[in-house]
Symmetry: C2
Subunit: 195 residues, 2 copies
DNA sequence: GTGAAAACGGCGGGACCCGCCGTTTTGCCT
DNA sequence: AGGCAAAACGGCGGGTCCCGCCGTTTTCAC
């Protein structure tokens, strides 16, 4: 089915494993040559399996993205549409903040969004859009808000807090700010503030 | 007073002029060597005047930052604290979106914030904080909001929309979203939506 | 086993950034 | 005016990276 040779498969896995560590350590700009060296393969082999940097990053984050999608599914069972959406968005932000390079990867999908329905951004959109639509139906979110808006905002929060002393805390502040708005509010239901 | 030699001053200006163009064209990652070549100086000279990439970027954006600060001053005369703050924040976002590399520059000031009170981030903070404080006194903004929050959010919006087809439009959407909050609102006073 | 296709990896080229160091330019001081 | 020390310059070599080419090795089907 895969049509791949065994050594190719093996190298693919090795490279991917090393890449995960390397990206976690150095972000989206991790050196491809360094990855090749650590994986014990030639740099050409890395490029053969992952023609572009993006393709490597997509692969690196694939599992975690699936986790997020699954979470969205589970949350769709919750009765309160607003809470479900907020809970999930919060998880998205936290993940984007914690996983170096993830926000960068998401930040420029633009180059032809159509091609791969499996791309991180598209997978996430597919998973999150229903949550947003329900929240809008529940009149809990303004109808002009698109999922793209929310995703971009989450990415922005992650990117902007990346170089802070305590990114997670700052990201939480910004998330809350964006959800509540600038003005002092009339006790809106809080999103869970734990882990 | 400057203590510089005339040729040094001349080269400094030349490099700065070229750098502005180059950064505008290629963002914060513009090639220093390319700048040197275009300016007709050795790459070492560029590094002599601007020891770090950051220092060059700070210089490049200095004028524009001053413009923003001045604008903050003028807006402090307006009667409505909330409007003044929003107007200024909007200008900040628009500038960050339009000037390639600016948001990147702002995004990691962290490395020792103390040293230079002239750094872009510190200048902007100094200019904007009074506006925020007034808005808070006017009960138009929640008291837990810090200027740092607002600046980071603006930077985030700029960074996240950088690779979009129409960054400015998307940035405006996100700005509005963050100001109003996620929920459908009770007609809050709008920020001017023009240029 | 063997042979063709797939996969590999080393090599050279081009672009950077950086530090060193001999050379040129300035401007002060006589 | 002329000389001289310090300031400023810029070229060079080393290191890293990404990329394309191409001869060699590995795999797998027959």
């Amino acid at each position: 089915m895969t049509g791949q040779r065994s050594d190719a498969r093996r190298n693919y896995q090795r490279i991917l494993a090393v890449a995960e560590a390397e990206v976690a350590a150095h972000g989206a700009e991790a050196s491809l040559e360094q990855i090749a060296r650590t994986a014990g393969v030639g740099s050409a082999t890395v490029r053969r399996h992952f023609p572009t940097r993006r393709s490597l990053l997509e692969a690196v984050f694939h599992e975690r993205v699936e986790g997020l999608c699954e979470r969205a599914h589970r949350l769709s069972a919750i009765e309160d549409g607003r809470t479900a959406l907020l809970e999930w968005l919060h998880a998205l932000v936290l993940y984007a903040v914690s996983a170096r390079g993830f926000a960068d990867t998401l930040s420029y999908e633009p180059p032809a969004e159509e091609p791969s329905p499996h791309s991180c951004g598209n997978r996430i959109s597919a998973a999150g859009t229903p949550l947003l639509e329900r929240a809008i139906r529940d009149k809990a979110v303004a109808p002009h808000v698109t999922f793209h808006d929310l995703l971009t905002l989450a990415v922005g929060i992650a990117l902007a807090t990346e170089h802070h002393k305590d990114p997670e805390t700052q990201a939480n502040r910004l998330f809350r700010l964006a959800v509540e708005g600038l003005s002092p509010e009339h006790g809106i239901a809080e999103v869970s503030e734990n882990s």
